[in-house]
Symmetry: C2
Subunit: 377 residues, 2 copies
């Protein structure tokens, strides 16, 4: 059993059969490749739980975030940005860059927005055209209450619910059509178990109506053109062929397992990690935490980056430190991608050894044994 080493919130570990699928090259405009695109489309619609087309772009997730904005809004449009971390902040940066008016709802790092906060802002600013939010804020590990907020926005014909699901897709239920999410953005290097290099975006019918009115210039990220290409089972520009072949295989694995089983697995992993963290006497940072990752408050007198460094040196395990002001204050464990129960246990076992080496006063009695039994090992 080869132990996995990558426990960062993207890139993630990749299954061997996906690597194998990516070990060949073919041309992207052949009838054979059109069949791949058709099959991929079915898989993506299953993941997004939508009847709308899911567009695949050659970019990082940020490219798809930009596309969400430049394809639906116009200069001076008012948008509400839920900024509870680095990626919420990014929604604001992109919006301002393209001349939108931005109301920023600042949420303390580690906390989720309250739907009532959003409702209060709408009372004062009923003309808000879009609410821009993360399903999982990767910098803090927080899950925002997407379903409840979407229920509120759904009733507003002139407002879009725009969800960055880059680190959330596949780790938690986000049924786009059922919840009425208007734009969902995702990336390849998280739950999808692929390398970075592809991003995904789907628009509701309401968002498509906005698209028809939108006055921002876009060329490479022109989603209307991309939709037309998809109707012909192709892409507007040369698609990253090897990543697409990997995507086809990853989707096959995912559909075989089924979304319900995958969600249950992430719930189990995150429950075990949190229980273990708290049993040691450490504190989980995010409240409520997303199922794909757990941000942990650094112990007193030990910086998060030091723990990251030690895990690398001693066990060749890569986890992520905090970002910006939280660089040293937290460290982030992730188990997205191709991670099995043995790997989660290996991560916790290694982390305990590092904490003990760093003389962090933790309770260890029975803690790993309990984790092991919860993981059914």
């Amino acid at each position: 059993m080869i132990k996995k080493k990558l426990f960062t919130p993207g890139p993630c570990e990749i299954p061997p059969s996906v690597f194998k699928a990516m070990s060949t090259i073919e041309h992207h405009r052949t009838s054979q490749f059109k069949k791949n695109i058709l099959e991929i489309q079915k898989g993506l619609q299953y993941l997004f739980q939508t009847g709308q087309p899911v567009l695949t772009l050659s970019s990082s997730g940020t490219g798809a975030m930009e596309a969400a904005i430049t394809n639906t809004f116009s200069p001076q449009d008012l948008v509400l940005v839920i900024d509870g971390g680095k990626f919420g902040e990014r929604w604001g940066e992109i919006s301002r860059c393209f001349g939108l008016e931005v109301i920023t709802l600042q949420i303390p790092w580690g906390k989720a927005v309250e739907p009532s906060q959003i409702e209060n802002i709408f009372e004062k600013h009923p003309t808000i055209k879009g609410v821009l939010i993360q399903a999982c804020e990767t910098s803090t590990g927080v899950a925002h209450p997407i379903e409840e907020i979407a229920r509120f926005i759904k009733e507003k014909p002139n407002t879009l619910m725009v969800v960055d699901a880059i680190s959330a897709l596949l780790t938690m239920p986000l049924p786009m059509d059922e919840w009425g999410l208007d734009i969902v953005v995702a990336g390849s290097q998280k739950g999808l178990m692929l390398p970075p290099g592809l991003s995904f975006i789907a628009l509701s019918q309401k968002a498509s109506r906005f698209e028809a009115q939108s006055k921002l210039p876009r060329f490479y990220f022109d989603l209307k053109k991309e939709k037309q290409s998809l109707e012909e089972s192709t892409t507007s520009y040369t698609t990253p062929v090897t990543l697409m072949l990997g995507l086809k295989e990853a989707l096959r694995l995912i559909c075989q397992k089924g979304l319900e089983t995958i969600f249950e697995t992430y719930n189990l992993y995150s429950r075990v990690v949190r229980t273990t963290i708290e049993a040691w006497g450490l504190k989980v940072f995010a409240e409520p935490g997303a199922p794909g990752m757990t941000a942990v408050c650094a112990p007193r007198n030990v910086s998060g980056t030091h723990i990251v460094k030690k895990l690398k040196e001693n066990f060749d395990i890569t986890i992520a430190a905090g970002q910006e002001d939280y660089k040293d204050k937290i460290f982030r464990l992730s188990y997205m991608g191709y991670i099995e129960p043995e790997d989660v246990f290996y991560l916790l076992e290694s982390l305990q050894k590092v904490l003990l080496e760093l003389k962090v006063p933790i309770h260890t009695k029975g803690v790993l044994e309990k984790a092991k039994s919860q993981l059914k090992l």
Copy 2:
């Protein structure tokens, strides 16, 4: 000896060691990965023959074309587009999309622009801010006279020479600093022997001065931010890690061989292909042709797409048909990427069989023998 099957002007065949390098995943913000980025940067500067930073983007080549425009020009700026094919046309589309004023110099497909045509236009329109051109127009296989045009533009402090080298880089000399090219754009899936998914762009000091004045919005493709990231040996957004690991290996192979040897090889391949085409009695379409590919006029009464189809059916070889109006009128042979003399011969041998099967009246006596001897087989 495994015969190669992909003779399209991108994607191209990929060396085994590059596939091997792409068969692992790592995190993109580690000190180890920073070393990769440093090494890659040295290799890219060698390819571009520039002392300026060469930025790597997660996009197709079109993304880098857009970046060239949105980072240096402003609305209403006047640019001259050399439109001799589908990709020249694309310069015009992107420019108009972002509100530039465009003068289009229409060149018949298959022909190169004359430098004097450009000089004449400048006499009437001295305020042109940029000349947008292809080094190799992939849709026709034509090589435009970049060096001569650059010599003319170099003297104009208020005009940039913007070169799409997507299918030209590595197949022909394009020394950016020596010739005074202001922006050079490239892609991963051509001479670089990688899958699609990365694009590259470098700006001269003159272009950087334009950048400081430019008033178009850009976020994902913000080159100034990307330059700052590169100074810290990283990228602004998650980079396609596996493609970057492949790039590092491809650059190692390329630097080992040396640019001069690579250019000679492409010259040999294109000379042999053209000699063979003409010896059969067929006509080469492009005048002058670029060294990395050869577009051929379809024989009387046989469509180019039919030849493409037959090569696929009989030999599993993929070549490209023409594009737009030339879909059936030409077919395009390419030998960019990981192609050896045996492969070029295999392509010609298979093509001769197809032409004979289709009852195209060609001279065959001694033709393949001559090609074989030219290729030193």
